[in-house]
């Protein structure tokens, strides 16, 4: 997608909220009206930089230029001016790490993207004799290369002279929310250096209960606290935009992308959950105002915090391979010509023909965390056709979701009543029905697919009183489709057992891990 020019006739006449989504592959700006309908969209992709295998970087200067451009583009397409916009909300790719010079505004290095694995060895080293869970009690996270803290440490160790500059107080750290907000509010000319609780909860440097930087952990990682931004709530006015298309407008929210989707799906009550189906899948469940420790391989994270209200926590489970398995069927296997065709192929048979596909391409993630596992297709007989395999591909996404929801129920004690879904794969009707069958719960798709941007807009709108409260946002939520379970319990149990048997067969494939 390069250009999405969405202008529709019958939306209200304003005022509006602008949401900026600084994502992994592109930056977007969407203008929403009071009903939560999209008025206009502008989007621009940025370069993915791969300096070495496993390394992924972004040019933060390019990203900031793109953000300014899409903001101007969306405002122009909407045919409005900054006077019509009540607030700006920010959502962003999480964990991607940047350090910049506060006097010049220049990044000291490309941003290190969340997918980048250069800190693998450093994370093992930081685990010392305790291992992956050394900081889990405080931060809710295992030591893994995704999170920002170790990336900051890598930069301080590897960019010449950086540690000295940081200790002198010349260097600022931020995830992409901080970078965008600092620049929006003036940059070197008085830009505010802040982050929100959801983004801070992905650094491994914040204590989940106090919502403050944990100085002991920062010290263990040898990160000077002077570089860290101020931690604020997800919905409050951080400052006002200086210059650009939205000069003078309040910058009033920040949420990591998955948390923004939780907010956009209006999962405001304990036990409400959303799952975003893209290349991978991210499921978050609202666990109320207490962080729930996970003993089943999930992450504990901050869901959101509105102003001075109590923070709301979430459990998070991610599935590494979902949409990317369909792409693999298309690009590597050549069994389909487009991703949508997987449904056509899968629908040509009644069931999986006994075949199960566990796409543990780079190991098993939540709830197993087995890096020695590799993918299998189990249960093959002469009877199995490519259509059965296509069906097994879709079922793999549904079963993996089931495993995450089971883990969430075990950790939180809350049964899932309905699953709110979004993301590209929700256009797959067979997958959505299968999901409902396997979860034995209704699966609901909202009418606005852009839940991430919507969440940022909602939080910003709450902060400036554009919407009075979360009840008003709930009233905006519209059900576009709902799938209800049609599978009998015996079949479901039997199939789940077979799936779990297939999962078992993936483990221990890699014999000696370096």
């Amino acid at each position: 997608m390069t250009d999405a020019n969405t202008t529709t006739g019958s939306h209200g006449t304003g005022p509006f909220i602008a949401a900026i989504d600084q994502g992994t592959t592109s930056s977007r700006c969407i203008v929403f009206d009071r009903d939560g309908r999209i008025v206009s969209v502008d989007q621009k992709e940025h370069e993915q930089i791969f300096p070495k295998p496993g390394w992924v970087e972004h040019d933060a200067t390019e990203i900031w230029a793109n953000v300014q451009q899409v903001v101007a583009g969306a405002i122009e397409k909407a045919g409005i001016t900054s006077a019509d916009v009540k607030a700006i909300g920010i959502t962003n790719q999480r964990e991607t790490t940047l350090l910049w010079d506060k006097n010049t505004g220049e990044p000291v290095h490309n941003a290190i993207v969340w997918q980048d694995t250069r800190t693998d060895a450093l994370c093992k080293e930081l685990g010392r004799n305790v291992g992956q869970d050394r900081f889990r009690r405080e931060t809710g996270l295992p030591l893994a290369s995704y999170f920002s803290g170790p990336k900051v440490r890598w930069l301080l160790d590897n960019v010449e002279g950086l540690r000295e500059r940081a200790e002198r107080g010349d260097i600022l750290f931020g995830t992409m929310d901080s970078w965008v907000i600092w620049n929006l509010t003036g940059g070197v000319d008085g830009g505010v250096h802040v982050t929100d609780v959801t983004n801070a909860s992905r650094t491994m440097l914040m204590n989940l209960r106090s919502l403050a930087w944990d100085e002991r952990i920062a010290e263990s990682m040898e990160i000077p606290v002077a570089v860290l931004p101020e931690i604020r709530s997800s919905a409050e006015v951080y400052g006002t935009a200086k210059g650009g298309a939205l000069d003078g407008v309040a910058v009033a929210s920040a949420l990591g992308d998955q948390q923004a989707a939780l907010f956009g799906q209006t999962c405001f009550s304990e036990g409400e959950a959303k799952s975003t189906y893209g290349t991978g899948t991210f499921m978050l469940m609202n666990t109320g105002d207490e962080p729930v420790n996970s003993y089943n391989g999930l992450l504990t994270t901050v869901g959101y915090r509105i102003g001075d209200e109590k923070p709301v926590y979430a459990l998070e489970g991610s599935i590494a391979v979902t949409g990317s398995l369909v792409q693999w069927m298309r690009d590597q296997m050549g069994l389909i010509k487009s991703a949508a065709e997987i449904e056509t192929l899968a629908s040509s048979v009644e069931d999986n023909g006994g075949a199960y596909f566990v796409p543990a391409f780079s190991g098993l993630f939540a709830p197993y965390w087995r890096s020695d596992a590799r993918g299998v297709i189990a249960g093959l007989t002469r009877y199995v056709t490519k259509a059965h395999i296509a069906r097994a591909v879709l079922e793999a996404t549904a079963w993996q979701t089931r495993e995450i929801t089971d883990a969430m129920t075990k950790d939180s004690g809350v049964e899932l009543t309905a699953l709110k879904v979004d993301g590209g794969m929700t256009s797959n009707n067979l997958l959505m029905q299968t999901l409902s069958d396997f979860l034995d719960a209704p699966v609901v798709r909202p009418m606005v697919a852009e839940t991430t941007c919507l969440g940022a807009a909602y939080a910003a709108g709450l902060a400036v009183g554009f919407w009075p409260d979360t009840d008003a946002l709930r009233a905006n939520w519209r059900r576009a489709a709902e799938w209800t379970p049609r599978m009998d319990a015996d079949t479901r149990d039997r199939e789940y057992k077979s799936w779990l048997k297939a999962v078992e067969r993936t483990m221990g494939w890699i014999e000696d891990e370096e």
Partner: protein, 254 residues
């Protein structure tokens, strides 16, 4: 044996000759392989080239199969692809119209519902993806009959059942309705299929202007009609949606 057209047979033989792997042949190779005079072979190759079935390499002057053949083979638009492309626009139509949205394609003698967006109120609704609707009485069906010759021949060859007193069953009258549909660019169904229910639909075209489906709204007749006329605002919203989906499929602006 029935009479056949020799030049078409020769053209088919040339395409077969060029098919298979990455084959590039010069004019004299083609001519001698098929036992034709060079002039004859050249005439046929030039015609095939004009239609895009054959391409000539500018450097070597050799011939190979053209891109148009590939497009012919892939011309079928997967209905799930259509749904994926239509999703955002159909959601927006439901929002702006306040009614439920259906996307339908021709399947056997009826309209297969491939996408359904609920009416945006809090009422209980059931997903109708996979359901069949009649061709001759629904707005979606009439649009398909008006624009797709296959749908048209299906509807004229089967019996047109009267579901309500308003259903148009006579062929002459039905053809007039299709003329009107083509002239206006949209079709309606006012209590012709279900009592108390009205709908409006418009065609979706792909990049080659082929009709691939229809999109429409359905609701209570009291809401869809305003003072005896179909709501102009709803008609405009449906047509906007159909155009947006067509644009996404690569059809030019129209």
């Amino acid at each position: 044996m029935a009479r056949t057209i020799q030049s078409l047979e020769r053209a088919a033989a040339m395409l077969r000759l060029l098919a298979g792997g990455e084959r590039r042949l010069g004019l004299s190779d083609v001519a001698s392989a098929l036992g034709l005079a060079k002039g004859t072979a050249h005439g046929i190759l030039r015609t095939l080239q004009q239609e895009g079935f054959v391409e000539q390499d500018p450097a070597s002057g050799r011939y190979q199969l053209g891109a148009e053949l590939l497009r012919l083979g892939n011309s079928y638009l997967d209905v799930h692809e259509l749904r994926a492309r239509a999703l955002v626009w159909a959601d927006d139509l439901a929002r702006s119209s306040g009614e439920s949205v259906y996307l339908g394609v021709l399947h056997q003698q009826g309209v297969l519902i491939i996408h359904h967006v609920f009416r945006p109120d809090d009422s209980r609704q059931v997903l109708e993806v996979g359901a069949m609707q009649p061709l001759h009485s629904t707005a979606l069906g009439k649009v398909l009959c008006a624009y797709d010759p296959v749908a048209h021949s299906e509807v004229t060859e089967t019996e047109r059942e009267a579901f309500t007193p308003h259903t148009v069953t006579g062929l002459g009258e039905f053809e007039e309705l299709l003329d009107l549909t083509r002239a206006r660019g949209w079709a309606a169904d006012v209590e012709e299929t279900w009592e108390g229910v009205a709908s409006v639909a418009a065609p979706i075209h792909d990049r080659r202007r082929m009709p691939v489906g229809a999109v429409g709204i359905t609701g209570a007749v009291e809401r869809v009609r305003e003072g005896g006329e179909l709501s102009a605002q709803l008609v405009a919203a449906v047509r906007d949606c159909a155009r947006a989906v067509s644009r996404d499929l690569g059809a030019g602006r129209f």
